[in-house]
């Protein structure tokens, strides 16, 4: 029985376990065997024991007792043992373990081994789990291999250097001289590694970037060579080495960013790639995608940018959902800078709102919101409201707030509709904004207050809606009672007070909402004639309320009733203003007439996002 079968036998036995308990039993026995094997020392079976242990580790069981065995196996002269030892190191050791330092010496020796496959093991392990200390120790070795070895090792050493630079940025200088000469290699693997290395060097250090910037000419030259050449072993769906092409394009992006000379030189080639790459398969689309990203990030001429946006637009019509998603992600990045170009594809984007995939829907939503303008607000709003009625629950909040912001900017009468439609989903921060909007749209006051009153009567669970409704009733209660708008039934004072009391007493109302309702009740005392006593009694009840804020308000109002009753009816008093602080700290100024004699600052302990500054202006003219 060859050794590998023993491993497979163990796997078979473990898989045949019918319960978790049975499996655990088998694993325990196997681990005991493995431990015994490790203790026995060199007998030709160590690598198989470690392999078994690695399988057990992958199932999720602890395997730390194998760490030292990895160290021992790596130091073994036998290739099979080294191979599994290094694999074990990559799986069981990481830079946080002390044992990882012990393999540094073995790696160092193996880096100069006569067999390139042993060298390869060492390089792979260093690039996978090399800690900063290990990298510092071994960097000179890697640099030597970068310069003087065969292609097989060079390509690995290059990527190892990339890992070293990521771990220890100061060592970048060590690799800079050799990096450039690597570009003259013919081997694709080495070239690919070289481009990755130079990209890493440029990203880390702007000075190095300047140094390498002149390389763009060289890159353009062999990119165009590779682009048109046919190499069967690197061909993927008709594209010649798409991995290398994508990498070169990414490096060109970095070199051309904010640099006119480099960008100008790239225009022709990028246009050529953009037009001639066949995007029927993923490989081609990947190259096109990278090209578009590069065009958008360098100082390309406007014709080229339009070409890029059109490619993205074409992607939007692709049957492949992945391509549609990618396209929208890219369009999102450029929608501000190239707004008109993206607008041309608005129709397709809006269609994507109907896609089955939530991620695609989310992208389409963000883009649609960004594309709303004064010109298309009506049609877009229609689409967005339709989307809101059918969108998945995790997107509702985002949709509502997005629509709200957009409506606020362009068409304020929509704002009210949104509140009535989805009042529970808008965020709390939007309440002061809506209130301010309503204040300024004076011709809509009557209509607004009626609509909100009706909504309030129907349903009082949606807090933002209830808050705005209460505020409006308090402010424009006289309009509500007079009933001057067409097509509405008259509302009596009792009805209004009933509604407000319901809000006050409902367990669904948050403390902030109760505050709104109480204030509104108070404001109505100047607007109604028959039920002042009822208001007085409501307000006085809350003078002993547990909620500190409500109590404070109620007490103040009571004081108004008692001490300043003669002032309550002054015309001036009809402006009881709310000065609200939105979470961002913007203060909406109050239209106070006259001097402030009493300022009550109320902080809402439950909702830190909505502190209110309440101004009572009760003074004579």
């Amino acid at each position: 029985m060859t050794p590998s079968v023993r491993l497979q036998e163990m796997i078979r036995v473990i898989r045949s376990a019918r319960t978790q308990g049975e499996e655990r039993g088998i694993i325990q026995k196997e681990c005991a065997d493995i431990r015994a094997q490790f203790r026995q020392g060199d007998n030709g079976e160590r690598s198989h024991s470690l392999a078994k242990l690695l399988y057990v580790h992958m199932l999720g069981y602890p395997a730390h007792f194998g760490q030292m065995e990895c160290v021992r196996l790596i130091a073994s002269p036998r290739y099979s043992e080294k191979r599994i030892g290094y694999l074990g190191a990559m799986m069981l050791l990481d830079e946080k373990q002390d044992a990882s330092l012990l393999i540094t010496n073995s790696i160092k020796n193996d880096l100069s081994h006569s067999s390139q496959y042993v060298q390869s093991l060492a390089l792979c392990t260093l690039a996978c789990m090399g800690s900063a200390e290990m990298c510092r120790d071994l960097a000179p070795e890697i640099e030597r291999l970068l310069r003087a070895s065969n292609c097989y090792i060079k390509k690995k050493a290059t990527l190892c250097a990339v890992h070293i630079i990521r771990k220890v940025p100061e060592l970048a200088e060590l690799f800079t001289p050799s990096a450039r000469s690597l570009l003259s290699e013919k081997n694709h693997g080495v070239l690919h590694g070289a481009v990755v290395l130079i990209t890493e060097l440029c990203e880390h250090n702007p000075d190095t970037l300047d140094q390498f910037r002149k390389l763009y000419r060289l890159l353009l030259l062999f990119f165009s060579y590779h682009f048109i050449s046919y190499s069967p072993e690197h061909n993927v769906a008709g594209i010649s080495d798409p991995f290398l092409q994508v990498r070169i394009l990414r490096l060109l992006r970095i070199l051309g960013h904010n640099n006119d000379t480099a960008s100008d030189a790239m225009n022709d080639l990028l246009a050529q790639v953009a037009t001639n790459t066949d995007s029927s398969k993923t490989a081609g689309s990947a190259v096109l995608y990278e090209t578009v990203l590069t065009i958008m990030d360098i100082n390309s001429e406007s014709g080229l940018r339009v070409l890029a946006v059109n490619i993205l637009g074409r992607f939007l019509l692709n049957n492949d959902r992945n391509i549609r998603y990618i396209s929208m992600t890219s369009l999102q990045k450029i929608v501000q800078t190239d707004h008109n170009a993206v607008q041309r594809h608005r129709g397709t984007i809006v269609d994507c709102l109907k896609d089955q995939d939530t991620s695609v829907k989310r992208r389409a939503l963000e883009l649609s919101l960004a594309l709303v303008s004064a010109v298309n607000i009506r049609s877009m709003m229609k689409e967005l409201l339709i989307f809101l009625s059918t969108c998945p629950p995790e997107l509702r909040s985002q949709t509502t707030s997005g629509i709200f912001n957009v409506a606020e900017r362009y068409q304020q009468s929509f704002v009210l509709h949104i509140y009535l439609f989805a009042g529970g989903d808008v965020r709390d921060e939007t309440v002061p904004n809506l209130i301010q909007l309503i204040t300024t749209a004076s011709e809509l006051h009557c209509y607004t207050v009626h609509k909100l009153y009706r909504a309030l009567v129907k349903e009082i669970s949606q807090q933002p809606l209830v808050q705005v409704a209460c505020w409006c009733i308090g402010e424009y209660g006289d309009l509500l009672l007079k009933g001057e708008c067409e097509e509405i039934e008259p509302v009596t004072e009792d009805d209004v007070l009933d509604a407000l009391e319901t809000v006050l007493q409902s367990h669904m109302s948050s403390p902030a909402t109760r505050g709104f309702a109480l204030t509104a009740t108070m404001k109505l005392s100047t607007r109604i004639t028959d039920n002042v006593d009822r208001i007085r009694s409501i307000v006085s009840i809350y003078g002993s309320c547990i909620d500190l804020e409500l109590q404070q308000r109620a007490v103040e109002y009571n004081a108004l009733f008692k001490k300043y009753d003669h002032m309550r009816y002054r015309r001036v008093f009809s402006y009881v203003q709310l000065q609200m602080k939105a979470p961002s700290g913007n203060v909406i100024p109050a239209h106070g007439l006259g001097q402030v004699t009493q300022t009550v600052v109320l902080n809402n302990p439950n909702k830190a996002s909505l502190p209110c500054l309440f101004l009572c202006s009760c003074l004579s003219h």
Binding site: S80, L87, K96, A127, K155, H188, F243, S285, E290
Partner: protein, 163 residues
């Protein structure tokens, strides 16, 4: 690439390659959450998703999910190609690969991955060259093993002669 995970439709891990230093506990947590998230996706959904601050690219081949976590600047479509290339390599090596091959020969799956990717980046873009390198390494392992066995038997024979 930050890491690559292969798991079955029941959520059993078949391969995990980590290119970033994380503790065992963190790795387990990430694996558990990510596997749950990917398995919850419906078949027709797109292969990309945003998870924590990473981009996840995944694709299902028969009963196995191949899942990679890439960084913000990485190209998602080319990552799909990388996954596809790895599957092709496995297929060529094992001859019409299936999940059982990867279960019973997991160490070989790792060896192949390590010839294709290094430190999270593609090291060899030619399929032929990767397979050739694996072949040679396997041969080296076999030759050395045979040499060892021969020497071992030779020693024994020698000892028997002179005992």
């Amino acid at each position: 690439m930050q890491f690559m995970l292969l798991f079955s439709r029941q959520g059993k891990l078949r391969l995990q390659k980590w290119y970033v230093p994380l503790s065992d506990k963190e790795k387990k947590k990430i694996t558990r959450e990510l596997v749950q998230t990917v398995l919850a996706r419906k078949p027709k959904m797109c292969s990309f998703l945003e998870w924590r601050d990473l981009k996840i690219v995944y694709k299902r081949y028969a009963s196995l999910y191949f899942c990679c976590a890439i960084e913000d600047q990485d190209n998602e479509l080319i990552t799909l190609e990388i996954i596809h290339r790895y599957v092709e390599l496995l297929d060529k090596y094992f001859g019409s690969v299936c999940e059982l091959d990867i279960i019973f020969n997991f160490e070989k799956a790792y060896f192949i991955l390590d010839e294709f990717l290094l430190g999270g980046e593609a090291q060899e873009t030619s399929k032929k060259n990767v397979l050739k390198a694996i072949e040679q390494a396997d041969l080296l392992q076999e030759v050395r093993r045979l040499c060892f066995l021969k020497a071992f038997r030779g020693q024994k024979h020698f000892a028997e002669q002179y005992s």
